[in-house]
Symmetry: C2
Subunit: 416 residues, 2 copies
């Protein structure tokens, strides 16, 4: 399967091609392999030639973009030309457009009437979230599925119409099973070393991918076999040995994120959380409150960016600030304990570090972060050296993931 994304904006750099990733993921989950993704501009000749060339290498193409009503309805013409057909009005779409416009008190004009045109012989894929329909065109063993460029329009049609149809029509669907294993607190290369022996002995129907992001590595196992059942079994056979090896870094095998795991554990134990952030500057609070329902356990947080706020609002001891500096075990411990009492929670997280690029001193390099987690029974503090690589943004993200991971470990201990 090839993905062909059509749109000038995708070649300017300001717009990131999230459509390709969304389609690839849905296909991957269905057991369909994406062999190539191509991005081209809205130019009729280039669309036509790219489709022609791609169909020399594959029988299946999904396109996005170029279906709009006016200047950029390029895709329909190029597809019709490739399949040797014309555009013709699809009556269901026409009725839908007339009704949609009437509801707004408008009449369907000539420009918008053209939106009901699709290549003759194609099956329409009705667009509930917009006006331009998609379509499914099949002829002489070649299939082209044309979808919208607007992400939420495309996503709905892909998920609701295209994937179910592909499950019936696509001939090379592998019976696959997947398992996502999220780890935190260990880098990609260390993790690779840790599981090297296990990985080398995997059967060839099973593939392993490393998908790193700051502070986390997602391991994705994919098995192929004659049935989904059999594929699942291949994974189940290898999983226990892997989980034993990575036990202390394992966040979830159930597709949960670090925040979701922490949320679940807090809600289950009916405990509440507060956060005191210095170098992470609100990012941990943001991660938590991005989850619907976080108010069930999240009381709030303080971003104590200046020493004055650390002292006056968070009650960090002046003596500790003076003697050890803001980035120190003593200060981050004070921050965690006082956040817990100020917000009246059972758990808290505190961070203090040097996110850079400035602020470095001789014994405190950029990337040094102290993190503390306070729980009903104790406070643990840990020092991290995240280095300069990737800059401020990556240091903030790594520190946030490390803090959530420390909290997760404490929650698990207390749950036992």
């Amino acid at each position: 399967m090839y993905i062909l994304n059509i749109g000038n904006e995708l070649l300017f750099g300001k717009t990131i091609n999230t459509n390709a990733a969304f389609i690839a993921e849905k296909l991957y989950e269905t057991g369909i392999e994406v062999e190539k993704t191509i991005v081209i501009p809205d130019l009729p000749d280039i669309i036509f030639h790219t489709i022609t060339d791609a169909f020399k290498e594959t029988d299946w193409i999904i396109t996005t973009g170029g279906l709009g009503p006016t200047k950029d309805d390029m895709t329909k013409n190029a597809v019709a030309k490739y399949f040797g057909t014309n555009l013709s009005i699809d009556n269901i779409t026409l009725q839908y457009l007339i009704k949609m416009f009437a509801e707004r008190g408008w009449e369907l004009d000539e420009v918008n009437r053209k939106q009901a045109e699709i290549p003759a012989g194609a099956t329409v894929l009705l667009n509930k979230n917009g006006t331009a329909p998609g379509f499914w065109m099949e002829k002489k063993g070649k299939t082209l599925i044309a979808l919208q460029g607007v992400p939420f329009e495309m996503q709905e049609i892909l998920t609701e119409s295209v994937i179910p149809l592909l499950k019936i029509k696509y001939k090379e669907i592998h019976s696959v099973a997947h398992k996502n294993i999220l780890t935190s607190g260990i880098g990609e290369s260390m993790l690779a070393q840790l599981i090297e022996k296990w990985e080398n002995e995997l059967p060839k129907e099973l593939t392993l991918a490393y998908l790193p992001s700051p502070g986390q590595v997602l391991l994705r196992l994919t098995a192929r076999s004659e049935s989904e059942e059999a594929a699942k079994k291949i994974i189940d056979n290898q999983l226990p040995a892997l989980l034993e090896l990575i036990n202390s870094y394992l966040v979830s095998t159930e597709g949960e994120t670090s925040v979701e795991v922490v949320s679940r554990l807090l809600i289950k134990s009916n405990k509440r959380l507060a956060v005191a952030e210095s170098c992470t500057g609100g990012y941990i609070s943001h991660l938590i409150t991005s989850q619907p329902g976080s108010s069930q356990y999240f009381e709030g947080g303080i971003v104590s960016y200046s020493n004055q706020v650390k002292r006056d609002i968070l009650n960090v001891r002046e003596a500790n600030l003076k003697k050890f500096g803001a980035v120190s075990e003593m200060v981050v411990t004070d921050m965690a304990i006082n956040a817990m009492s100020l917000f009246e929670t059972e758990y808290s997280i505190a961070t203090s570090g040097i996110a850079g690029p400035g602020g470095e001193t001789e014994d405190k390099p950029v990337g040094l972060v102290w993190i503390a987690v306070a729980s009903p029974t104790k406070v643990v503090a840990q020092k991290f050296l995240f280095g300069k690589n990737g800059g401020r943004e990556v240091i903030i993200k790594r520190a946030a993931m490390a803090a959530l991971n420390m909290l997760r470990v404490e929650l698990l201990k207390n749950a036992q």
Copy 2:
């Protein structure tokens, strides 16, 4: 110019291809057009054939990925094969690797020694942020520039080495000029209507692109002419009329983000800022503290997620919470005033709203957000209805951008 991204992970869907966007943007700014982006898996044959086919259509390819030390050093071999050459050790890289390993107390092993290999005849592009070098290979009118898949490694080499070299060597650099005009507080379609007449009368050497993101629309003007000077003049001729039309929504014509404008205005007037966030949950603090140097003006913030925190820490009047509810003009005004006095700043921002999907009431729908900005002379509060489209994440982002925009307007008023 073609971009060729190599990596299985880019075809699985879990990893979004941000490298293509980054490279495209840098090239675009340099006046180099990206004609096609292709994503393929880490398979030697496919890499070789894709390079071969692409060079039939273009003279220039930038690749990313496939340069790692072990299993996936596929790109180097494929490039060597295409150019009819072998891999050979680059001595500068070898010395660099030996030194880098020695600093960590390690000896360079055989696997890592291979990282110093590049196609014979290529120019090495040294990688300061990692081990695998990039390279620039030129032969018989075809040029291939091989870069890393790891974003921050690739970005540094692209910006520091490749773009300056391209400015000298790339033959089809158009004389272009760009102007980015950032707006906030108006949606894409309203903005398009507002400037429709102006847009329709633009000369054909000038193109306008709308690049929307939650709460903002970036207008990008691109002019092409026989010289950069002449291209700039085309933009300068049209700009004043545009700026007059969009004046009240204009954030920056100098490439600054909303946060950067606010930062600059605060630093210039030597004033300090605090934030009290409910529905935005730390996101505004995160945006501010993502900027290096934000400690110059940012004192800190409170994420007052529960009513208890609003009352006990932020001193919001109990009577206001009871009578008007947390999402109200009175409460958000209390939050802003009290954050200002608690953190001892001259300015503050406060947000309170319903980010959804839950929490809706009959008169308070999902997407309703109250925002207040307190300044030395007054407090302004404004009600926003951001709707449900895009969900929680988009509501949070829109609210944050609206808050920064309100602060910007107040700062500008007080600067006059």
